[in-house]
Structures are given as C-alpha cells and as structure tokens.
Amino acid sequence: METDWSKVMEVFATGIIGVFVVMILLQILTQLSTRIIDFVENFGKGEESSPEPKSPTAPSKD
C-alpha cells in the first residue's frame, strides 16, 4: 500500500489551519456578541437604574 503523501500534507495543513480559523472566528463572534449584549443590557439599565438601586440592594447590605 502506497502512502499518498500529498494527501497527508493536505489533511495536515487544512486541519491545523481549519481548526484555528474556526476557533478564531468563534472567538471574534463571542467577543462581538458579548459586547452587543453588554451594550444592550447597560442601555436597558441606564433607563431603569434610577429607581432600581434602592429596593433590591437594600436587603443585601448588612
């Protein structure tokens, strides 16, 4: 059985590059969605924040 070395190299290279590309894209997406969600949540809080701190934080203080 002959080993097809060009195929080996292809699998090797596409594999390593592929995994990194996918994971980097995933990282960017995660960071992006985190930013967006942070922004949305802060925006939401910004409007509610004035009445909010009084009641919920009071019991947790001692």
């Binding site: 059985m1 080993t3 097809d4 195929k7 080996v8 292809e10 699998v11 090797f12 596409t14 594999g15 390593i16 592929g18 995994v19 990194f20 590309v21 996918v22 994971m23 980097i24 894209l25 995933l26 990282q27 997406l29 995660t30 960071q31 969605s33 985190t34 969600i37 942070d38 949305v40 949540e41």
Partner: protein, 372 residues
C-alpha cells in the same frame, strides 16, 4: 448416554475457545480491575470490560450481524451514530461555558491543543497506518471519548475498541500524563502567574452563546453538525433555565442509559480476531503520544499568546486545551497551586477545557470531511 454427554461437550463453547479468547479474558479482567478497584472511568470501563468478556465466549453469537443482542446495540447506537451525539446532549447540559464566555481568548488555547492531534496524525502515517486509521488514532489526543468513537466508527470501525479504550484510559490518567509535560515546558516563574478575577457573565450571554456557536460552527463545518448541535442544545436546555426537566433528563437519565449501551457495544467490538494484532499496541502507544503532544501544543500556544498579551495568562491553562473535562482543568489547578499556593487556576482552566471540547469536535469534523 456417553454420546449425549459427548454431544453436550462438543456443542458447548468451551471446546471452541481459542488462545486469543483467553488473552481477551485477561484484558477484560485487567480493565475490570482498573474500573472497580482503581476507579479509572468506571462508568465506561466497566461496561466495556464486560462487553469484551462476553464476546469472547464462543458460540454465543452476541455480535452476530442481524441476530446478536449486542450487535443491535452496536448497529443502532454506534454504526448509525446515535449514541455519541446523545452523550454530547448530556454533556452540553452539564458544561458551564461561563469561563469561556468571560475570557474568549481561551478558545485559541482549545485550538492550540488540537495542533498536537495533527502531529500525531502525521506520526501514525509514518508508522504505516492508512490515513483513515491515522486520523482515528490522532483524535485520541483530543481526549474526548464520544468524539473519538464518532470519528473512528466512520473512518476505521475495526479500530473502534482500541481507540475508545485508549481515549478513556488516558483520560483517567491525565493527572499522571500531564504534569511532567507542564513542568517541562513552563518555567517556575510562569507557573506562578496569578490570573485576575473572571469578569461576570450575564444570563443573556450564557443563553446566546450556544445559539451563536451552533450556528457559526455548523455553517463553517457542516460535518460537525451531529455533535455540535446536540452539545449546544443540551447547553441551551441548561442555560435557558426554563426546561430544567429536559436538562436533567439529558444529563442524568438519558446520559446514563446511553452510556450503558455505548460501553457494552464498544467492548463487544473487541473480539480476539480484531484486537490481538500488533497494530493495537501501536495504537495505545500513539494514543499516549497524542495526549502528550496535544498537552504540549496547548502549553506552547499559551506561551505564544503571552508574547502578545498585556495581561499575561498562566501558560499552564493551555494544557487544559485537551478536552478531558474537568480532569485537565483540575490538573492545571493542582500544578499551579504547587508553584504558588495562592494560585487558583481552576476556573481559568475551565475556559480552555470547554473550548477544547469544541476544538476537538471541529478537528474531528475537518478530518471527516477530508477523509470520509
């Protein structure tokens, strides 16, 4: 009278026993010992070991295609790729992606450890395995049982028993295999690096993560779909907080049920004929090599990242990029606290650890796409 007795003896399994069967009994007993006495991954090794024992009792035909009981488990569960994704569903319902979301850079560490897997692929080809076999052996380095079984059953089903057993066995041996590599590749000073508190992750982020990840990965590597879709569905069950019953069912009952069938069927593939060949020894050797190289690759990746980062990470957490959850993370924590007793790396290591699960699935999917 004597004839009847003779007939009984000849129709019994005992006379059809081969030397190979006896060796397999021994293998089974060793695994039973490891599972029961040493408690190495007993949930899997126990059914696997018993599976090996029962298929090496001749004339039972338990693995006879279209007839045997265990063959049906194997055929429907593993050949048709049903069990590994179901295990992933349960895993998803147990995994906390929080540390990963808090520090998305750790995704790169999950990718880094997979580089070791391709080195092993190369090495296995050099040892004379064909490409499909080499890929199945390399994936052991991902330290992820279901993914190993998923890939092997598609590329090289005759190696299933060996790759699955070595994946689970080495996973249990993480605390022994990893620390020497960690100490070799990092300096005392690096191991002492303390990492700051993880940023808090809101519920919305936790809910969005599985959805975004599932979409992104399946769009990029569709062959990862069976595993990643189930993993993320399980995680969505957990994080949504509205289907606690489903989340519990997936991570307890369903997971336990399929684990029984998985272990038994994997063990049952290991008949004397398929298992007792020099190849299998090489598989165990290469599997160990895969584990070590992947650990090293993760560590090196972490050190490379440190060259660019302002807030240095502790390079030890790179070793958690192999997916053995949570053994690898525990191991990192332990080695880290040996260097500096005020170093609590556990949660930081969980990031690359769960990223490793995703990374291994992606790596397996790419191998499958190229070689399937």
């Amino acid at each position: 009278m004597l004839d009847i007795l003779k007939d009984l003896i000849y129709s019994s399994g005992a006379v059809s026993l081969t030397g190979g069967n006896l060796v397999m009994w021994l293998v089974s007993f060793v695994l039973l010992y490891l599972a029961i006495k040493k408690q190495y991954e007993p949930l899997l090794l126990l059914p696997i070991a018993f599976g090996i024992l029962i298929v090496n009792l001749p004339l039972t035909f338990l693995m006879e295609p279209e007839h045997g009981l265990v063959w049906f488990f194997y055929h429907y569960g593993i050949e048709l790729d049903i069990i590994p994704p179901l295990i992933f569903l349960g895993l998803g319902a147990m995994i906390d992606f929080g540390p990963l979301i808090a520090n998305p850079k750790t995704l790169l560490l999950g990718a880094g450890a997979q580089a070791g897997l391709y080195v092993t692929f190369f090495a296995a080809v050099l040892f004379g395995f064909d490409l499909q076999e080499a890929a199945s052996i390399a994936i052991i380095g991902g330290a992820d049982g279901p993914t190993t079984i998923f890939l092997t059953s598609k590329l090289a089903p005759h190696l299933l028993g060996a790759t699955a057993v070595s994946a689970y066995a080495y996973m249990a041996l993480v605390p022994i295999i990893q620390p020497p590599m960690m100490k070799l590749l990092t300096t005392e000073h690096e191991r002492k690096i303390v990492m700051g508190k993880l940023r808090p992750v809101s519920k919305l982020q936790r809910v969005c993560f599985p959805i975004v990840t599932a979409m992104a990965i399946m769009l990029m590597v569709p062959t990862a779909a069976p595993l990643i879709s189930m993993l993320m569905l399980g995680n969505l069950f957990k994080e949504s907080g509205v289907v606690e019953r489903l989340s519990k069912a997936a991570s307890n009952e369903l997971m336990n049920i399929v684990t029984i069938f998985l272990g038994l069927s994997v063990g049952a593939t290991m008949t004397a004929g398929t298992f007792l060949s020099p190849k299998v020894l090489f598989i165990f050797f290469l599997g160990l090599f895969a584990f070590i190289v992947s650990t090293g690759a993760g560590l090196i990746m972490a050190k490379i990242m440190n060259l660019f980062l302002k807030n240095k990470i502790n390079p030890l957490i790179g070793a958690a990029g192999v997916s053995a959850v949570p053994m690898a993370a525990r191991c990192v924590h332990k080695v880290g606290s040996e260097a500096n007793r005020r170093n609590y790396l556990l949660m930081h290591a969980m990031g690359p650890n769960v990223a490793g699960v995703i990374g291994t699935v992606v790596a397996a999917a790419i191998l499958l796409k190229n070689l399937g």
